[in-house]
Symmetry: C2
Subunit: 255 residues, 2 copies
């Protein structure tokens, strides 16, 4: 009896045409059947945004044995919801966001649509991981990631993750990696985030920009440290947002 190939749902926030997601598809096709439901255009910074008030459309862009690619008008999280509710052929064994063009370590995970994919996957009860490369270029070289993508995917297919968790995996920008570090999310803070311009008619408008300040530059157990030192950063993410330490201290009985 022939064993069924793994079935993987892939989405991203750079859109279905982005080189990152297509590199991931090409890498994983030899080992898995793949369905892609990804945004029809870039949705960087979409976080866990959903679209409750606008109808969503979804178009089959490509089909070949072992691969279907849909472009969806919604956000990355919408894409996962549409895929799971409508387009998957069976229960996916794994949900992957990425490969993102750009760094999703530290607080960027809050804003990342790629992490939105993994978050939604995990909230829906699926093993979920996000891949990101610390390079925004559309011409980024993904080849150093090849073997790691296969190994992490193999790991996620053969190992359970706890409920309400996923993996945020970031690759540094270098030709070869020193190894893999399991990390915590670095505490950092975006600053100088607005660039003001003037409309031809005189009104101001703003571009969101900024630089990310380290709040704990000496720490060596963070994802930021790993990336800055040439390691692949694996940050396990907890989607139960409860601050248990604070819960045990707070008391509003007097209110």
């Amino acid at each position: 009896m022939q064993e069924e190939r793994p079935y993987i749902l892939i989405s991203n926030d750079d859109g279905y045409t982005a080189p990152g997601i297509n590199y991931l598809i090409d890498t994983l096709m030899p080992m898995a059947d793949i369905i892609v439901v990804a945004p029809d255009s870039p949705r960087s910074g979409a976080g866990c945004c959903i679209t409750p008030n606008v109808p969503l459309t979804c178009k089959l862009m490509h089909r070949e044995p072992g691969l279907e690619v849909y472009a969806c008008s919604g956000t990355p999280v919408d894409c996962v919801k549409v895929a799971l509710n409508r387009f998957v052929r069976r229960r996916p064994d794994l949900i992957i966001g990425g490969i993102n063009h750009g760094d999703n370590s530290s607080v960027n995970a809050h804003y990342s649509g790629t992490m939105g994919v993994a978050t939604e996957g995990a909230l829906q009860g699926y093993r979920s991981i996000a891949f990101s490369l610390c390079n925004h270029s559309l011409r980024a070289d993904f080849t150093p990631l090849h073997d790691y993508l296969l190994k992490f995917t193999e790991y996620a297919l053969t190992n359970e993750l706890p409920p309400f968790s996923c993996l945020n995996i970031n690759f540094p920008l270098c030709e070869s990696f020193k190894g893999v570090r399991v990390c915590r999310m670095a505490h950092s803070r975006w600053q100088n985030e607005l660039e003001e311009r003037e409309h031809p008619h005189g009104r101001p408008y703003f571009w969101l920009v900024g630089d990310c300040a380290e709040l704990e530059p000496e720490a060596t157990d963070t994802d930021r440290w790993a990336l800055a030192n040439g390691y692949v950063a694996v940050t396990p993410v907890n989607l139960d947002l409860t601050h248990y330490g604070l819960r045990d201290k707070l008391n509003f009985d007097a209110l």
Copy 2:
């Protein structure tokens, strides 16, 4: 010497005209100077979405002693960034998201733009809280919340919260509350999330809908339980997303 009044930044995801945010403003004006930078239109489900690729505009809609109200073209998180980088007159003592029209307990916190406000506030190093009422109606009655809003705001103005934390405060839909419960985030799961329709030209489109299934209906320490039983639910939220338990178990040295 006259003591300076507290200075509070308020935003939301229902837009600056929503009754919820205006009820909050009216309630807090006697005790604080207020700046509002809120979306110019509803942005429900925006989560921590940011707008890096479209210029943002911001318009002063109202000014009176102790109150300024700006309408911003961006998401709730954009509003906080724009406010802090450009429009605040001094460092706010507190950042509040809400009052949201609708339940932001349990996994809804991931999708909530109101929680996006509090998340961004906390990531930027401010004391931050989110208020939500479990009633989507534009004609919701906010008067049962009045004294609680004042007391929670007073609490947040006089007590530190740990770094990378904020409070997600949800009010049940009832005329009076049994009390306040400090809770953990209930594990639940949205399901049946797509309603398919047909465009006049025959193409399918989808509305995001769904119902929220309890994954732990017996638990009595969750925000869902508190709300279902008439209590105000205070869920302390941890913005350090690291799954520390999983971090200590994972090992990729062999990769």
